[in-house]
Symmetry: C2
DNA sequence: TGCAAGAATGAATGCGCATTCATATGCGAG
DNA sequence: CTCGCATATGAATGCGCATTCATTCTTGCA
């Protein structure tokens, strides 16, 4: 089977593997289609001898059952739709990984799409996903278009919204309060004696709520000044460096606490500060968000708000599974909280 | 639609949205099922008045076509299977992002699975994917179990293998030579006057080939010593720091060039070196691999082998699409190469 | 005015499987 | 023996749609 050139797969397969059906396996094994179906879904109902002949036929032909047909008639696709803003952000991919692992262990596959941040794109993606008749859907965040809500409700499947909580989820939600996270950061800033603060964020909706909560609480407690840089770009180390340059250039911000919407931005801010010879945390205190792996290992280690992304994905999967299989979950709103991890950067 | 408690979606949908069919839409619009099908797939074949009534009915009922049934009969699922070792690694997720974007633009959805590094897991994932009858498959790497190869060939669909090249791909491959990459790094190390080198890697199969090529070429050109740390863990900043600690502790390696299997590890090595007061690149030169976003922005900026991950995903998508739609691609083996980017760390 | 050639629609069919209902066989209890 | 029940199997059916073939209704043009 060496040296396979162009078109080999196409040529070889045209009417072999893809065309084998349970009926064909049955013919080979001297049984009917039903028996083949049973051999695969519940072998205990088939005699050992028949089972053996069926498996031989399967082996021989390379038969792969057609899950489309199976799902069509059984109304169970064993497919879970998942929508995230971006898979390149470790924040979401780590969560999806945990979610997917759990689901796969229970025999489900994940249909994953990126939606970006525009609600219309999400709506379109939801339609496409529902057309595959998933057994459940996972969405990121609690902000969706009215039509998206309506269609999801009409689909009659369990839906989990992740990364945030609300009193009125579509069905289930698993996350934490971003308002509370902003308040916690502001309290930390005030408690550690800062009277100037800067907010650096990459503009997603949840980050905005954290920063708004931070700004209000910080002003209220300290009466101090809060400045803000909205990057309108995906978070990255380079953007973090840029943010500090802009803070210094545009606001003369060289002393105080900087609350970043992600650890990556915080890392960039720290890097830029060190390059400029600013002392951390004495002059500039830096807080990140997310507690990603590197947060504990950069120098100085990042003070950050820690969110358990694995737990997020895991709990979401569990909640959906119990809905799918049991029909009801015990709780609809699961607040996983967050914690403030103090290290060296603030 | 506020305050939706448990089970709302399930209750609401049980026999609404999910149960609507083209036949039902047809009844509402006063036409047959075929006409509804045509209205959606080729509106030019339906009169404007009928079209309007159909769309009203769709709007009213929240109808979402059942792609399972459509795929079953048309033998086109508009689904692309994609297998990557891990989605949390930016290396793969950035590639999948580009791949998926391209595919989505052409009306395909991505069924994504993580396979880890074990061939049996990949084989199982391939079977599961093929059961959904994808129109094409994307795999990572060129090492697959014999059975996986056989089943993929039998499936009769285009298959692209990514991140590597070989003379005998299953169908198509898009990547670059890891051996050549290792040689380029070794030549750089030799050219810049190093006579000691260390290799730090996280153990994936392609990284091993790079390091083996490096070691052989480096010894051959310099006669120098090459030591090695195999982390057997996912690459991370913390693992990079650990690697340097071990290099120093186990081998007394405090001078020379360190070639890491990823930028993340290189960043960790650099961080640890700085913490220990080792000068970079004078004492310790550090090379990464991948040229990820942060590589240019850390201090000192990383010298690394740059691979265009977006191009990888994009070209793979293009190659598959032309196979799916045109039947033949012009080339089966696409070498995208790599480039050595010299910055400050080496 | 008549007829061929679209334009718009529908009836029938089957994709490959899970599910339901029916049938055949074996076997122990009465 | 005969009845009853478990075990092993098959025939029939239909999921929701795309596709094919046939039918009706318009048109344009000779």
């Amino acid at each position: 089977m060496a040296k396979l050139g162009k078109g080999t797969a196409l040529a070889a397969g045209g009417d072999r593997g893809g065309r084998v059906t349970m009926a064909a396996i049955g013919r080979l094994a001297g049984v009917s289609q039903v028996t083949v179906s049973r051999a695969l879904s519940d072998p205990s109902k088939v005699s050992t001898d028949t089972l053996r002949r069926i498996h031989e036929a399967i082996e021989q032909t390379g038969f792969v059952p057609n899950a489309l047909a199976g799902a069509l008639v059984s109304r169970k696709s064993r497919l879970i739709g998942a929508l995230v803003p971006s898979i390149t952000s470790i924040v979401y991919s780590a969560m999806v990984q945990a979610f997917g692992e759990r689901m796969r262990a229970r025999g489900y596959q994940i249909l994953l799409s990126e939606t970006g941040t525009a609600l219309e794109d999400e709506e379109r993606a939801i339609m496409l996903h529902l057309s595959r008749r998933p057994d459940a859907m996972m969405l990121t965040g609690i902000h969706h278009s009215p039509k998206a809500r309506k269609i999801l409700l009409g689909a009659g499947i369990p839906v989990v919204e992740l990364w945030d909580i609300t009193e009125s989820p579509i069905d289930l939600c698993v996350g934490f309060s971003h308002g509370a996270a902003g308040l916690a950061a502001a309290d930390f800033a005030a408690d550690t004696g800062h009277d100037r603060a800067a907010l650096v964020h990459a503009g997603d909706e949840r980050a905005l709520r954290r920063k708004d909560a931070f700004a209000e609480r910080f002003r209220q407690r300290t009466g101090g000044n809060v400045v803000e840089i909205n990057l309108n770009a995906p978070a990255s180390l380079g953007q973090g460096r840029l943010a500090l340059s802009r803070l210094i250039g545009e606001f003369g911000f060289e002393k105080g606490l900087i609350f970043c919407s992600s650890d990556l931005l915080a890392h960039g801010v720290v890097t830029e500060a060190q390059t400029r010879g600013l002392r951390i945390p004495q002059q500039l205190a830096v807080m990140g968000f997310g507690d990603q792996e590197f947060a504990a290992h950069v120098e100085p280690a990042l003070t950050t708000l820690s969110v358990d992304r694995e737990a997020l994905g895991w709990r979401a999967a569990e909640a959906l599974l119990s809905r799918i299989e049991g029909g009801q979950a015990d709780r609809s709103i699961i607040d996983l909280g967050f914690s403030l991890v103090r290290r060296k950067s603030a």
